[in-house]
Subunit: 443 residues, 2 copies
Amino acid sequence: MNPTRSLAEFVADTRDVPRFAIDEAKRTLINVIAISISASEHSSSRRLVAWARAEGATPRSTVIGSDLRTSPALAAQVNGFLAHLQDYDDTHFPTVLHPSAPTWPAVLAAAEERGASGLDTLVAFALGEEVACRIAMSVHPWHYDAGWHITGTVGVFGAAAGAGRVMGLDAGALVNALGLAGTQASGVREVFGTDGKPMHAAKAAANGYQAADLARMGHNAAPDILGGRRGFWAVLSPGGHSEDALLADLGTRWELRRNGLKPYANGVVSHPIQDAVIRLRNEHALTPDAVTRIEARVCPLVLELMNRPDPHAGLEGKFSFQHCAAAALVDGAGHDAQFTDARVADPVIAAVRARVSAVVDPAIPEHEAYVTITLTDGRQVATHVEHASGSPENPLPDAVLDQKFRALVEPVYGPARAARLLDAARNLDGAAGIGELLALAAR
Amino acid sequence: MNPTRSLAEFVADTRDVPRFAIDEAKRTLINVIAISISASEHSSSRRLVAWARAEGATPRSTVIGSDLRTSPALAAQVNGFLAHLQDYDDTHFPTVLHPSAPTWPAVLAAAEERGASGLDTLVAFALGEEVACRIAMSVHPWHYDAGWHITGTVGVFGAAAGAGRVMGLDAGALVNALGLAGTQASGVREVFGTDGKPMHAAKAAANGYQAADLARMGHNAAPDILGGRRGFWAVLSPGGHSEDALLADLGTRWELRRNGLKPYANGVVSHPIQDAVIRLRNEHALTPDAVTRIEARVCPLVLELMNRPDPHAGLEGKFSFQHCAAAALVDGAGHDAQFTDARVADPVIAAVRARVSAVVDPAIPEHEAYVTITLTDGRQVATHVEHASGSPENPLPDAVLDQKFRALVEPVYGPARAARLLDAARNLDGAAGIGELLALAAR
């Protein structure tokens, strides 16, 4: 027995996955579908779809947000790109791994190809995601600190494990799948801020899928890609690794518990401010013209990373806590629609933005904020957010996830189809297959 | 200007490549085609061809040794696998990089797709190969010693550069191509001895091709994937790197000068023995029954790595200097045909094998050997090989390369077609395109 083999047996032999893991898997899928449909409108996505279309592969797998049908590996590649393009995917808090963007596309491609049931598909994702998070924990923090983009390097294992589970690989074949996947682990942080970053999730998904498929056909690899003398730990995390972090409580503790969904499409440090403003807005029915001041007390990172009182472009808005707070008050949200050039230039939002300020308090952690809003009649309303929504201590409520889904999908597909798609995802564990879901997710 | 940009400008702007580089590029191509056709008979190759066939891509690119026509990226993948499967490809002596296996398939795919002339194809390879060898030198020996398989990690840059040159990318697009390629650099030595190893060359070729193609379409990446703070040097070679090794004499010194072709399909340390035996065999018209003893004085590695007096399987013969010497005497060669189970069991070869011995001399380097053969009439003949054939000081003669080509191709395609194919490769620099060559290389 070695660590790679232990993971392979876990993936091959686990029969029952707890209910909450199935539910959480569904929530990550709802999230992935929503952000992928939204991302499909971007020019970088259109470029990759055009590239995949030119491959001319047999049309048998769904690309989300597109009319393209292609091969499983190519569909996994494009879908991985879409899921990670806008940095709006889920985050495994202990490691900053984004597990869904590489794993879900590989699982979906395998499930569509093999006609897996909805429940089997969700189980395969839960197992693949667990593998990715476990490997991420085994090399955290050395690996990321060394410059690796963990979503690429570790994501390929999750993709191979999840796809391999759908294919019904036994533990021996899964060892080969993980070996073929792990020796393709790649992605450096140097390309952050470019098309190279979502390509990490894209290729992790596709490479993981292919690794599983080749292992199914008989390709072999090393018996222990993780722990071998020239394997993943030794070569990609020479600064340190922990076998205990990899395997402790495997099958009883599930990392989906620590995997958060983002409520807002901007940097995470201003999320507690947005939570607070939206809470006060809704509790007190605040309108923009009733507000004279929005004052926040926050962790120092907010001013370091997001102090931009007068943003002009949409993307700048994502790095302006003032804009994030103002949009939260005016729109009650922080989706892509709040970060367009037009919305950043909107006079109502700009007027509120000018009334937003923050003071820092080094004792306040990143996910916490105090916000006081002063009204035109002199009254003050205040609230305290201890854990931003979407953090493990305060999971995103289903209602907010649904709202995010509608906000991202309705502008592309309209409300009726968005509702049917959300319904299909919510009921996936009872579905005989994933065909209906994917038909609604395609354009 | 930064190191990545310097390489990109070299690839985009070089107009003239020296004659010897064109000739050497042709020789590497002859070698790649021969070993790929031979490798296409292996079960691992058939498996990858089956996988690619199932993708069902538009038939527009040639897979060597196969009737499959597929997309450029998939053809590059399969051809990369074939070129590296048997470890019979070329070796850049200063770094142990195998530059052709990842680079040629990407260049061929791009050239076939775009209708490049034979000469432009050869120039593109020479430039891509130079990029790969230069990057390899910039991280040698730290990178390989850390456990990376340099043919995968660095090969992807050569593939992107070579394919990008064929596509006519300017320096800016080539920077993006190298960025998209470099962030996919992968391959650990843990999978040596498995299907994972040739997959490194396979995926390097395909990923490099796709990187160039996406950059052509507008995908961007980091401005300096090599030297950036979280780039290739920092993350994949933290133990050290040399910008001088990367750039010194770029465009005047060509690394194809130090890129050797293997005359024998076995481990390199017994090559000088085989050279010596074949030389004596040919000079003195030796027959097996005329020989009573073959005695070699060699470097210690021969006994450490290849002392196997009584091999039984074909693969064992590759690790037996006794078998290599005996086959050299009996057949005058050391190709795959000399390492079949049948040939290892052959009684004539086995009888000679029992008469082979070696003594080590620590003063003798790896590429040198002294051999004395004693004949049944008591005479002795002896020779000294200072530099094994295929080393930079003693390049493989064209006649021996042709012999290797015929030995590998004729069993698959027959002598007439092998001769036509070799002729097409030898005359490639005068050809309007590479279509005829590839049509003959396909099955």
